[in-house]
Symmetry: C2
Subunit: 388 residues, 2 copies
């Protein structure tokens, strides 16, 4: 087991009818900015319910944070935070809204050009850099990214997606009411299952370092997602399936699975370029890249791939290759069973576009990816070819 730090102070408020808790967790005299996305939270009446709970507090709204939230959008919210002397940011949405709100709180306190904050990558942004930042609370509407219980965000600017990490951005609280997610479009639910699945595999299918509980937590999340995946997509009001989906997605990226283990994240890095270049949904890009990457990287990942085959898929065979082949095949079939296509060509991206992706990976410094930092651009190319 590697040495590790684990710190996660977010207060999770999980279950039915928990919106009232907002009143307890937002200071009574706060001036609140509610942030949200494309408008479904507004149309469904959720924003109104939240405002009712906020009672006499002064409330502003900032809607229109898009999927893959853009810097250009978020800086408009920063202006409101400053001009209206906002004390508390309340994100009502999925990972994009929450990620965007994390950036808003950092940028609101930062004295310089806030594009600077996109340059830190996986280096945490501390209070020495931004000073004190405004607290965030969240009401989760989409189980997928885990952003509701971590300190990371991904922000889009020009043709890139940039990681922004800061311990200052852990939400103070997150309300996880599975019933709030019942009205989601099926494709978003499916993407959410895949996002949680791949967050887990990025921290699990690497190489063994004798971390027994973390491995089993990872396997438990993967098995749960496999069990409830089709149901949570097909039966949106099945509370038990959705509750397991929501909590799995949160646990997949709150630090528990990743404690003391090697981590890959190449699937995400390659996937980000596919979203930025071709507008393919984040979850879909992961469904495209993961099976191809596991196939290309089977030597580096052999021991954990075999463990994945045996423990998650219960595959029995005398042949290691067959076990690995079947595990990859079942992974692909699982994604497809959720209605998500797993081939680049099915999204209209042909072999001719691969050099453009490689170009972008190079431009963003993604030349030594994976848990062993030896996934070069050549290997990324092979993965993309395998994904066609």
């Amino acid at each position: 087991m590697f040495n590790f730090d684990f710190y996660n102070p977010t207060h999770i408020i999980f279950g039915k009818d928990r919106l009232e808790s907002i009143d307890k967790h937002v200071p009574a005299n706060a001036t609140v900015l509610i942030t949200y996305g494309g408008g479904s939270a507004k149309r469904s009446g959720l924003i109104d319910k939240v405002k009712t709970v906020l009672g006499n507090r002064k409330v502003y709204e900032f809607g229109g944070i898009e999927p893959n939230p853009r810097y250009e959008t978020l800086v408009k919210a920063v202006e409101i935070v400053r001009s209206e002397k906002i004390d508390f940011l309340l994100a009502v949405g999925g990972g994009s809204v929450i990620d965007g709100t994390k950036f808003i709180t950092l940028a609101s306190s930062y004295k310089g050009d806030s594009r600077d904050l996109l340059k830190y990558g996986f280096t945490p942004i501390t209070s020495e850099i931004v000073g004190n930042v405004l607290p965030i609370g969240t009401v989760l509407t989409l189980p997928a990214t885990g952003s509701e219980m971590n300190s990371g965000a991904v922000i889009s600017y020009e043709h890139g997606k940039f990681a922004v990490m800061s311990p200052l951005t852990f939400p103070k609280f997150s309300i996880l009411d599975p019933t709030i997610t019942f009205t989601l479009p099926k494709i978003q639910v499916a993407n959410g299952v895949i996002d949680a699945f791949v967050h887990t595999t990025e921290q699990y299918i690497t190489y063994p370092v004798d971390v027994r509980v973390q491995d089993r937590i990872a396997e438990g999340i993967l098995q749960t997602l496999i069990e409830i995946g089709e149901t949570t997509v097909a039966e949106p009001e099945n509370y038990d399936a959705r509750a397991n989906h929501v909590w799995s997605a949160t646990l997949a990226l709150n630090g528990v699975v990743g404690a003391g283990v090697p981590q890959d994240w190449a699937v995400h890095m390659i996937g980000h370029e596919l979203t930025a270049l071709f507008g393919i949904d984040h979850g879909q890009t992961l469904a495209i890249v993961l099976p191809a990457l596991l196939d290309v990287r089977r030597e580096q990942k052999r021991a954990k791939l075999l463990q994945y085959a045996e423990r998650v898929w219960h595959i029995e065979s005398d042949s290691e290759e067959e076990k690995i082949d079947l595990a990859i095949q079942k992974t692909r079939e699982f994604f497809e069973s959720l209605g998500v296509k797993t081939r680049l060509s099915q999204y209209g991206v042909g072999a001719d576009k691969i050099p453009v992706v490689i170009e972008q990976l190079k431009a963003h410094g993604m030349t030594a990816l994976s848990e062993t930092q030896d996934l070069t651009l050549d290997i990324s190319q092979k993965i993309l070819e395998r994904a066609l």
Copy 2:
């Protein structure tokens, strides 16, 4: 899945050579009280190492916190906290030292007779009751209770053991260096494995509420403890085994396993009386009571006992009774494989003493225990008879 709140702000600092982190996490101008137990932390040189890291800070020491820490001992530390204007409590020890230190911080701030704090039981003690309390840090020397990453304590006073719960007592940080635990006596290591095991079963072998990840985390902890149990006892310097032991013990009672599930705790409540009356180690009392309780409560716990048999012990049989019998037998054999006896009579406690235990359970209000609050004194008696 039940509604739940999850909140755990303790910063875990895990691994080899992490003591230096104390310097970062204790304020530079703090006056520190180091609390410890029977003296092994002193004799091993650990206290001196901690003091070296604390550097120029003013440091006081309070040793002699006994296993099952006593109110009468802890109030002496409260006097030092007040007279020396202590700012920070640093517990160097196992669950008893950490539990005791949690009580010290609450009692130091409380204005009235601090015995009042023993009366709250599972009702959290809030800042309305005690005001602001001093922060705690811990250096863990014994993997067992999970106290290093939760907000609970058990304090002994007269002939009782009293639960003290307060969100104010989460340690700010806990240093979990497995190498620090290498010098522990074998029996304490074995007791620690059993304590973690039974913390997990108390939150897992109840009744099903469709919590798939939590169940699998519980099963993962139990399987890990079964796999590394004999090794962590027999090979004290086996880092991998001990690291898995340490982290399993912390995860078993940090709230992750218990999120959204029914909880039992009858094994602990009955066990506490055996410790208070006969001085049997806490871990040993659990090894005595758990197999007997599972046997007596097999109807109430049937579904989860079968799941436990299948998933944790991989028992296959067409007979449900045989599955359950074998799971209980294997549990008992596991405890015995660690060198811990599982029968009351093996500790010199005969049938004649059972009425005394029942008397004490009655005196402490333990008349409706378990996840279904229907474990009466009559049933406790049956369990104790089965444990002879």
